[in-house]
Structures are given as C-alpha cells and as structure tokens.
Amino acid sequence: MSSLSSRSIYRRRSRGSVFAGFDPILTGSVAALLVIGTLLVYAATRDWYAANNLDPEYYLKRHVLNILIGLLLAWGTTIIDYRLLRAYTPIFWGLGVLGLIIVLIPGLGAEVNGAKAWIALPGGFQIQPAELAKISIIIGMSMILSERTHDSNEATSRDVLQALVVAGIPVIFILLQPDMGTVFIISASVVTIIAISGASSRWVVALLLIAVVGAFGATKAGVINSYQVNRLQSFVNPNADVQGSGYQLRQARITVGSGGFLGTGLFNGPQTNGRFVPEQQTDFIFTVAGEELGFVGSAGILLLYLIILMRAFSIARRANDPYGRLVATGITAWFAFQIFENIGMTLGLMPMTGVPLPFLSYGGSSMFATLIGFGLLQNVHARHR
C-alpha cells in the first residue's frame, strides 16, 4: 500500500513539471560541453575533408544528429521513474549482453583497429554495444546491491558475488573483443559501486588486488594481444615506434603542447588542419581543444568536467534510496574514469586505448550512452526530494 501511494506521488510530480527537476548546473555544463564538442568535431574534420574533396560538414551534421538523438534518449531516461526502470533492469542487461555476443560473431561484428567492437548497421551506421553495456552493468549491479532480502542495511558477500556475476559476464565478452579501455573503466566503476554499497571493505581491497594482478597477468599471459602490448609499450617509450601507436601519442602531445597558453584559435590549428593526429574527431578530440583553444580553453573543459562530476557526487549523496545512490555513483565513476583515461592518454599520462571522451567525442554509441547516463543522473536528482 505504502509503496503504491509513494509511486503515485512520484508520478504526479514528474508529470507536473517535465523540466522542473533538472539540475541547472549539471545541465548547463553538459550543454556547454556539447556545444564545444560540436565545434571541435567540426574543426577536426572541416579542412581535411574539404582538402580531399569530401563534404566538410559531414562529421558536423552527423555529430549534431547524434546529439539530438542522445538528448531525446536522455529526456526519455529522465522522465521515467528510475525505480520503474529498475523493474526492467534484467531486460536491459540481457540486451546488453546479447549485443556483446553479436559483435563477436564473424560477419556481424566489424573489426576496427584490431578490436571487434562494432555492429555494422545499414546506412553506414555502427553500434558499439560495449558503450551501452556500461549502463546495463551499472543499473544491474545497483539493483542487486540495493535489494535487501535481509535485515542488514549493508550488502552481504552474497550480494557482492551476485553483483560481480552481473558485471563479470559482459566484461568477459568485452575482453574477447578486446577492448581494454572499456574493461578498465567498467572495473573502476564496479569497485566504486561495491565500495559505496556498504559491503565489507575487504571486498574493495580484494577487488583492487585482483585488478592489479589481473592486468599484470593478462599482459604476461598474452590475453592482451600484440596490438595492445604495443600500445602499452609505446606509452612507456613513445619514441620507439615512429609510425605506430607511439607516433599517435607523440603527435597528440605535440599538438596539445604547441597550442600554448591561448591556443591558435578555433579552426586555425595547423596540426589539426594538417591531420597529423589520427582519429582526431573521436578518441583524440581533446588535442583539438589543446591546440586551438590553448591552456585557457582546455583547462576550461576540465573545469566543466569537474563541475559535472562534483554535481553528480552531490546527487548521489542526496539520493533517497540505495538504488538511486548506487546508480548515480556508478555513472559518476564511469564518467570520471573515462574522462581520465581519455585525456590522460592524450597528455601522455595513460596508455593508449580507444576510449571516447564523454560529451565531446564524435561517435553515436558513446554519445547515446553518456547522454543516457546524464539522463539517469537527472532522474535520480529529480526524485531525491
């Protein structure tokens, strides 16, 4: 009875004001990043496409389309009560795993840069199930760890083990692609969720240890294939491989460094316009900001990210129920580690992995996933009062 009435209260509130629950700071920061990202994607591709007699606005148009679809998804995610979403969690999770399996089937999955991470769709579109799997894992784990079948307010070891299975199955499939960047980000988020769930701190310590040993063992045992080892080694010594991944890292660093304090001005970066950094509109989008907007612009972007993350923490802290809190924390951790991995790679602090930068990088799946994540944060925010 009480649960029914409370549900109707939430429905009423959400129906009454579709946008009233939006966090203005979070929303404003995300909107600012989306605008900046659009400009950067355009700057990264305009000259090169024009020079090669292609439509200079090709990427701009598609990026804007991606944002619009993503915003629609975010809006949809926001208006549905997340506690209702919880009921459908197993279905989302199942769909996520299915996508990851399809990717691995020859003929259905497309291989890019040595990883089978894509499902090719008609019309030149591609879907990257791993991006959406992040959401499946976060909401799946949150569901299990917030369900209390016992009196304790804390997650038991049994809960933790169940949650790890929920996370582990998709991770195994992502490992098979292989996409180490995503595995790293998911692992960091999983540990964070478990830590916040109130589970014994021994679990947290143990999982961190497993992560370290696992990473080391994987390199040694050859689970990580040669292209990933190359990428890791070129991180350690970027001058070793002039044209390979070391080349990309070096070019990225030079591009960012050459921007200097004020940058060359938008659309005026010679490194960017000469296309010296490969995949610049996706994984290396931050180099465009580095060169053309300089330290002032790049630090501004970092500041926007910081605002988003700190805002997300406060949403998690004020969440009404464990599920909302875990979802918000999981999304925050995902965003944070993905931002750190991507920018860290661009600046030479992290090894090279193919991870897009949330809200800025070109790429549909990533844009949809991050905007859905943003929608979920809003959802939790809207219902905490």
Binding site: T192, I254, G290, L309, T329, F340, G344
Partner: protein, 696 residues
C-alpha cells in the same frame, strides 16, 4: 546511507578530484611550461623548406671566354624513401631503370647509397647528400627515355625525371683546366656540419674543389627558400614564405683559354716525348705566371680528367681511376700538390747564398769531376771535369762540384757536426728568403707547403724517426735490410739530428730532403725576374655581378722580397740567360727569336716504381721571358721525365711559342696571345656567348 558508505563516497570523490587535478597539472606542463619545445616540434612536423638553388655564376678567362657555365639537363632521380618501402628495397626497379638508361646496375646501386651505407674501404660512387632529397642517377637523360619513365610511374615507383641546371665546362679552344676550375657536387653531411666555416642548404650544389670551391660563396648565389605547411599526407596546405633565388656572381680569372690550351698540350707533348725515350713520365705540371703581379695565366697538371665527368654521373670505375696510382692519380693537382726536389733550378738560391756569404760572383771556380766530402765522393752530374770556370759558366753548364765545395766550406765554417751557436747558414737563410718552406698562398684549395730541410726541420724529423732508425733491424721490412739501407739507418740513428756534410752539399744543388711544388718554383723565378718581389699567385682577378658591376677586385699582394742585392740579381739574370745561350738549354732554345732566360734541373729520385724499376729523374725547366723587361715566368716539371732540357726545356719553348706567336724562328705579333705583350688589365664584359678570339 550508513557511515561506511558515506565515507567511501567521500574517498572516491577526493580520489576523482585528485585525478582531475593531475590532468590539469599535466596540461599546464605541456601547454605552458614546455610549450616552446612543443611549438618547435610542431613546426618541424608541419613545415618543409623547398630550396630553389640559384643559378651559379660563370667563370671566365681574362678576355671573357667562359670556362664554366650552366646548361639545362634532364635528371633521372631516385626517391630512396619510396625505394626502401618496396618489398625488395627497390632492386627490381633500379635494375630496370639502369637497363633503360644503359647504365651499369652496380653503378646505379652505389650512386643511390648514402656514403655511410657502403663499407669504409670502398665508398667510391656513393651519394653524398641525404636520404630525403631526390638522388640523381644521371643528369643527362635522353628526353624520350625520361618521358617513358614519367608516363609509366606505376612501372617505375620512386623514379622521377626533372630538369636541372648542369655545371658545364665547355672546353673552348680545347682547354681542360680541370684542376684549376674544380667541380661542383651535392652538399654532404660533412659540409653541413659547418666545419669549413660555410653554411649551405641541403639541396644546393656547391663547389667541391678548385675555383668552384675557393670562390663558392660568390659563385653560388643565394638559394630561394619556399617554406610550405604540409599535412600528414605531405600535401601542401599553404605557403608561409617564398624568397626568390639570387643568381651567383661571375668570376673573372687571369687565365687565357688559348694559352691554357697551349700549355696543356705542351705538357702532354713533353710527357709523350719523355715516354718515347723510355722514361715512365708519370706526371707533370706547367705554369705561366705574370711576373709583375703573380697572376696565373695558365696552369696545367698531368694526368688530368674531364671536368664534366662529375656532372655526367661518375661511374664507380671512373671514380676509382681518378685516384689510382696506376693512372698517376689524376685527381692530384701537380702544380700545387706535387712535391719534388728542385735540383739545379735551386742553384739560383745558392747564388744568392754565395753572394751573401761574400763569394766573388765574377771569380772563377774549380769544377772537378768529383769532390771528396768526408768519406764520400760527390760527383758532377755527368762526372765531367771542366777545370776552372767562371761562376756564370758554371751555372750555365750546371756544374755541381763547385757548389759542393762552397757548401762544404760553409758547413765547416759553421762548425760542421758541432755547429756554432749562431751559425751563418747562408744557404738555409737564402732559401728561407725565397720562402721555400711557405705556401705560395695561391687562391686555390689544398696547396702544400714546400719542405726546407734546414736545422729545425732536421731536429723535428729526428725526434719523429729516431726510434725507427735506432731499431731498424726490428722495425724495417725484410726487403729493406740491404747493406746500404742498414748503413743509412745506422748513420741516421747516430747523428740524424744534425746537418751532415752530405746534407749541406746536397742542399746546394737542390737534392736531398728539400722538396717544393712547381708553383713555388714559378713564384721564385718570377721574383728573380721582376727584381726580387715575391708575389702571391692568383687565378681570380675579380668578382663581377650579373649586371656587370665589379664587386671585388683581387689585388696583387707582395709576400716578401728576395734577400739579394741588385748586383746579385743582375748576375743571376746574366747567368740564367747564359743557360739558354751557352749552357744546358741551348739546344732546346736554338733559333728561338725571343730572348729567354732559365735553368734546367734534373733531380735524382730515390725509391722504386710499383713495377720494381728504379725511379727516373725529375725533369725541370724554370724560366722567364723576355729576358729584357720580363713579363712571364714559365715552369715545367715532368716527374720521371729524364733530362731537364730535352723534356721540360723543349716543353717550355713550345709554351713561349704560343705566348709570343712564334713559328719556327719567326715572330708573328698578330699570333701572340697578348698582341701588345701585356695580359689584359681590364675586366671584360661577361656573356655566356663570348667566343674565343681567333688568331690569324
């Protein structure tokens, strides 16, 4: 939310905040602290300098006839980067191109290797430039063949064709002058290192030796630089600067093509004559100098090579031949790099020494067949006793023994093997006065200084060789252990640091350890001719701009004065005239209508040729003319050529014939190279079309 969750959330939040601060710190380092470094790196990634070499200035003779000019050729070039990317490293493509061009594959292969890629002992034919510039395998391709290559780029990946400026030595009037002109070539890593104090752009063509090297900074001009900004595919996105090349300036020399050509053929004639009488005659030099200012009017070196061979594309065997002993090392410039004992031509120095020592130049001296010096007998050249002769006659017939006597007496007077603290050393001092041990300072690279075997030299020599001679039995090779050499080693070990009687007497007739270059001897005889002024020899007269302005005049420079009184020089002039009228050169100059003065020299050379025969004598003739009011100093030397008079004397006569327009015993002033008897003093108008003056 329980306490632990709350705490965990805070820890995670702080951790993530730390990560973001780390990113900000790193960003600050890259974009603010290290920004200059990365800006430089970015610039070097994006910008490419395309060097557009300037048109090289002409080198002309004193009347404006081109000795070096430029021609347009069609180069077939190889892109090493593209070649190396091919699965067989371009072997197949190179083979097909060699075939098409009719070149040897091995030559083309070597021509496209950087010098560092070939083994140390065999670098002939290597590419001296860099991997990043197109490497020309020929600069004179048939346009038909070039077109085939350009049209079928798919069949010839990495091969291109482009028009290039070729340095051309046209050889008007049959002139060669390879050693004086030098040649041009691509910039090497060594050139770029700035060791020679000059700076170049990588794709420039620069002077490598001769005048081309010496006056390179004037001739080369200023290369145009076009800096372009490129993208990752190396396609040009924009141009950041473009300066036009400024053509090089022209160089006017004091050479005369007709005289140069005449001197070259007189020299090769002399060599031919020497060979006909059984001498090896491995090399030679001939020089004509203006005695009033040191200007070189002609200078020849034998053997020589085609100065165009570098630009034509030197094959490996061509390159080896240039330095082969068997061919007489054609690359060597004998006038400035050949070191030979001056023999009797050195007696002019001895005359000055004797005069300064107080000997009466007008007295008579005994000229026996031999003189006992210590325990050794020193003979006259042909062992003929002449009795008492005037000094003048003694010089004319080249008596050696009278000089042995004087030198031996002076040596004894200076203390013999225990020299006084301040010996007179008249002979050494006279030689120093002639600047025998100094370079002539000619404006050509790689000149060698003569070696004056005086007391200082001998001390230094002893310090370096004492060890060898004092341990001769252990150090020498088996075939060097002959009784004569063993005795020599013993003596050298004993008192090799001292001037011995034998050294002193040998010095007086230009034998022994004293060696000089033919150019030095020319400078010395020019000084005798002009009354004692030692001029710096010069080949260049002026640097002239493209629009005819004289930018730089190379002025005559006096380096010193002979240590001789007018009376001594007058005596020397008479004696040197006597050589031609009643001495060793009489036969060579019989019937010659213009009075010439000179001195023969026949220098003994120790050692053996590669084929085991003993080395033949060096044939010298040093002269000036006309005897009254001398204008020209002419010297010829033929190494292993035999007698001075018959080989070099006759050769020098031929040079004078050309100079003065002499046929047989008749002078035709219209046929003279310089009709008024004076080399031109004005700077000619410069045009590549200037023709050789035709004498009737």
């Amino acid at each position: 939310m329980n306490q632990r969750s709350r705490l965990s959330l805070l820890v995670v939040q702080i951790f993530i905040l730390t990560l973001m601060v780390a990113l900000l710190g790193r960003l600050f380092y890259l974009q603010v602290a290290a920004a200059p470094k990365y800006k430089d790196a970015a610039l070097s990634i994006q910008s490419r300098d395309v060097i557009n070499p300037a048109i090289r200035g002409l080198i002309v003779d004193s009347s404006g006839v081109p000795l070096a000019l430029n021609r347009v050729g069609l180069a077939i070039t190889v892109d090493r980067i593209a070649l190396d990317e091919q699965s067989d490293k371009g072997v197949n493509v190179l083979a097909r191109v060699s075939n098409l061009l009719g070149l040897a594959y091995s030559d083309v292969y070597r021509a496209t290797r950087l010098c560092g890629e070939l083994p140390k002992y065999d670098k002939a034919g290597c590419w001296t430039g860099s991997r990043y510039q197109p490497i020309p395998i020929t600069k004179e391709a048939d346009p038909e063949i070039a077109l085939q290559i350009v049209e079928r780029t798919f069949d010839y990946p990495g091969i291109g064709a482009t028009p290039v400026a070729i340095r051309n030595y046209p050889g008007y009037a049959g002139v060669n002058a390879a050693h004086e002109l030098g040649y041009v070539g691509p910039v090497t890593e060594e050139d770029l290192s700035g060791k020679n104090g000059r700076s170049y752009y990588r794709s420039e063509t620069i002077g490598k030796t001769g005048l081309e090297y010496q006056y390179d900074s004037y001739l080369r001009g200023t290369a145009g630089i076009r800096t372009v900004i490129v993208d990752r595919k190396e396609s040009i996105t924009r141009e950041s600067q473009n300066t036009k090349p400024i053509s090089g300036n022209h160089l006017v020399t004091s050479l005369d093509v007709r005289l140069q050509s005449g001197v070259e053929s007189a020299l090769s004639d002399a060599v031919r004559r020497a060979r006909a009488s059984g001498h090896p005659a491995d090399s030679g030099a001939a020089i004509v100098m203006d005695v009033r200012n040191g200007q070189i009017l002609a200078m020849a070196s034998y053997p020589t090579y085609d100065p165009n061979s570098w630009e034509k594309g030197l094959s490996v065997s061509d390159a080896r031949a240039l330095f082969s002993e068997k061919n007489g090392v054609p690359a060597l410039s004998r006038p400035l790099q050949g070191m030979f004992a001056p023999a009797s031509t050195f007696k002019s120095v001895s005359v000055v020494a004797a005069a300064n020592a107080g000997y009466n130049l007008n007295a008579t001296y005994n000229c026996p067949s031999e003189i006992q010096v210590g325990n050794r007998a020193f003979q006259n050249f042909d062992s003929k006793p002449l009795g008492r002769v005037s000094l003048k006659k003694g010089i004319a017939v080249s008596c050696d023994t009278l000089w042995y006597q004087i030198a031996f007496d002076e040596w004894l007077r200076d203390g013999g093997l225990n020299p006084k603290t301040n010996p007179n050393d008249y002979f050494f001092k006279a030689a120093q006065g002639f600047q025998v041990n100094k370079k002539t300072e000619i404006d050509l690279p790689s000149e060698l200084a003569g070696r004056l075997a005086d007391r200082t030299w001998r001390k230094n020599w002893y310090a370096e060789n004492k060890d060898f001679y004092c341990n001769y039995k252990d150090r020498a090779k088996k075939n060097q252990l002959t009784p004569f050499l063993l005795e020599l080693a013993r003596e050298n070990c004993l008192d090799g640091d001292k001037i011995r009687a034998g050294d002193a007497v040998n010095f007086s007739i230009g034998q022994g350890d004293t060696v000089i270059t033919p150019l030095k001897l020319t400078q010395m005889y020019a000084a005798i001719a002009n009354g004692g002024k030692i001029w710096r020899p010069s080949v260049a007269k002026a640097v002239v701009s493209k629009d005819g302005k004289i930018l730089k005049k190379i002025d005559a420079k006096q380096l010193g004065t002979l240590p001789a009184t007018k009376a001594t020089l007058d005596f020397l002039h008479e004696s040197l005239r006597e050589v031609v009228t009643g001495g060793t050169a009489t036969g060579a100059f019989s019937g010659f209508p213009i009075a010439i003065s000179g001195k023969t020299g026949t220098a003994q050379v120790f050692g053996k040729n590669a084929n085991g025969t003993l080395k033949a004598d060096t044939s010298w003739f040093a002269s000036y003319g006309p005897t009254q009011n001398p204008r020209y100093a002419v010297v010829m030397m033929v190494s292993q050529g035999g007698f001075g008079a018959s080989v070099s004397g006759v050769g020098v006569r031929k040079i004078y014939e050309t100079l003065f327009g002499v046929t047989g015993s008749k002078v035709d002033p219209a046929k003279a190279i310089f009709p008024d008897g004076r080399p031109p003093s004005t700077i000619p108008k410069i045009s590549p079309a200037t023709k050789v003056k035709v004498t009737p």
